[in-house]
Homo-oligomer: 382 residues x 2
């Protein structure tokens, strides 16, 4: 018999069956999920080396290549949330003393700075006020000045609602022989984007925004040029879990065990990516744009001002200035508690100054726009 | 309108609805999952800062404290699989030049060596043949010789099926003023274990074995003494995603955003931990032991030999020697293809020499033992 003499029941907490409110998630993500994705996620797991699971992984890779418009062989889902995929891009190519130039125009630019520093990079930054974008000339000047090995930019800044134009960046980076690293967390699946046409060498995203899947398995892609830098490292990748020299052997034809994949999340991600392929990228991008414009128009009718100039606004995430005298947090609280609608406040510099409203993936639907606008009208003006 | 001129449909793969075989997972994990866990996982997500989700996180923390028998405040689930939680233990407390002593007696001991090296540790090792355990005197001698800051040992070696006795280790580590780090990946929820009584400072586990949950959210715990080492670091934690100085502010009362938690996995983990609390640890440990003994007896009747001496055998994972002249891979393939039963071959040194049979969590049931033994009999002898 097993000894039980001194076992403690102190934390043997009595809990009820999971019982959560039916939220409409119109913040910066997670967004609500298509019922087909939830059903797929609840499929009983098979093993992470089962031939049937390896086929699921292959399908995820192809469907991700479609969604991202890339032919990169190393296009996979990292077994963590978007921040893990973000860290994976830096961890694999940054070696101590490498100059990394980061364009900071919001919270996630700062996160790139923090992460790159931890891998020993010589980090240089250029900055813009939160809500603005960089123009090509500024970036060219900075490349000329800093001669970085990597230029890191956020395509869709979740903290500001800004869409950074990518035109011309690939050519510039080729000219200055540096890798182009782009955060597509809030653009993949909702905003026009082509990794290969834009000359992007490293990109990451998440599952819970434009792709409409729960969080936890996160898209990652790396060009042949970036792989060359990985292969010519003088030091091992300083992060075991995210080491692509090991992970590529599990996702590639060798099928060498690295870690146990989050099986059920991959089921969900596969279903979410199937939905993207079924809808088609043009239609999906157009849907996001149309519903965002509907939102912007309605906000204007409520005398609310968008923080970002229209041409640089993300269709997936809109920042709205909190009017003078209005308690932004109280309004968001009312939406949540009275109408089960989640929107978010600002992050970092924009804390207390804006609300963040997301229309992402499955949630980018006109009924959600109408619901939100009318609920907002109620809590603001009645 | 959005330009669609140059979009490629090359990877817009036609895929069918997910359709996977009904595997009985009797390998080293993942194991099958209680239907209640799958149902919980398919609950529509709420936001990662929603008050109702924060309550779910609190429940997970308490239920994990119960399962691990610890009062450690920093007891959380890392947003990755077991290997991420493993890396988290080292990343947070290892600083460059720290002496880390690793007891290597299997594949996962080697992984600890690899990971600790990447964080700049001065790694020392002691070794045992795969299938044996360390005794206290050997460890004492090694502590005396190497004077490490951290002693790392694997409680339940998934590659060998060995259970390392933990008695006396806590006192030894206190005497030599070093932190005790223990891998409990294949023991938590299935093998008697008390973090606090054993004087363990750092431990990690996974969700897909003894806890009977899909993989992807992994238990991590850290004592006050280990937190002191974290707080007195001269260098930042060299891993952003797993940095406990940041993560503890999300799981603690401050609720500062760090990353978007894998919401639905936490729903599943909560339900799996509820099942542990409902059953009670003594009963659960006893169930694992009873079913393992049933398996061992049946294997002996089939003239199969367990690789590990009975007193050191894990109830969760049994290594069985492949008889001379038998093609181990072919037998496992037949079990999978003819009976939908997954068992695994050996890892590393034991590759080709043993099969690994798991009876973990929900799968530790007499009907699985009978099924496996009779299927094995068929494919071996008929």
């Amino acid at each position: 018999m097993i000894s039980t003499s001194s076992k403690s029941d102190r934390f043997r907490r009595q809990t009820a069956q999971l019982d959560l409110p039916p939220r409409v998630l119109l913040g910066p993500g997670p967004a609500n999920v298509h019922p087909r994705v939830l059903t797929a996620m609840s499929t009983p797991p098979v093993g992470h080396l089962d031939p049937t699971f390896l086929a699921v992984m292959d399908e995820i890779q192809d469907l991700l290549r479609y969604a991202w418009q890339t032919e990169n062989e190393l296009t996979i889902a990292v077994s963590g949330t978007g921040s893990a995929a973000m860290e994976a891009t830096l961890a694999n190519v940054v070696e101590p003393e490498d100059v990394v130039l980061v364009g900071v125009k919001g919270y996630f630019g700062n996160r790139l700075v923090d992460m790159a520093s931890r891998y020993g990079a010589d980090v240089r930054t250029i900055s813009k006020p939160w809500g603005q974008v960089f123009d090509l000339a500024e970036i060219k000047t900075a490349l000329e000045t800093h001669r970085p090995k990597i230029l890191a930019l956020v395509h869709a800044e979740t903290s500001t609602g800004v869409k950074q134009p990518l035109e011309g960046l690939g050519e510039l980076c080729q000219q200055y022989d540096c890798l182009l690293l782009v955060d597509t967390v809030t653009s993949l699946g909702g905003v026009p984007l082509s990794i290969d046409q834009s000359g992007i060498d490293l990109a990451y995203s998440c599952s819970q925004k434009g792709l409409g899947c729960p969080p936890g398995a996160s898209p990652f892609t790396m060009s042949a040029k970036a792989i060359d830098k990985l292969n010519s490292r003088r030091t091992p990748v300083a992060n075991w879990y995210l080491d692509m020299s090991l992970l590529s052997k599990y996702w590639g034809s060798e099928r060498v065990y690295h870690h146990t994949a989050p099986i059920n999340l991959y089921y969900g991600l596969r279903e979410a990516l199937r939905l993207v392929a079924e809808e088609g990228l043009e239609k999906r991008w157009q849907r996001h744009q149309t519903n965002a414009e509907l939102l912007w128009q309605g906000l204007a009718e409520l005398n609310l001002v968008c923080h970002v100039e229209q041409q640089y606004r993300l269709p997936t995430l809109t920042t709205v200035r909190i009017p003078d005298g209005v308690d932004g947090k109280a309004i968001a609280g009312k939406l949540l508690n009275e109408y089960n609608i989640e929107i978010a406040g600002g992050l970092g510099e924009l804390g207390g100054k804006v609300w963040r409203i997301g229309l992402m993936g499955y949630n980018s639907r006109p009924e959600n726009v109408i619901l939100l606008l009318n609920a907002l009208k109620q809590v603001l003006y009645f």
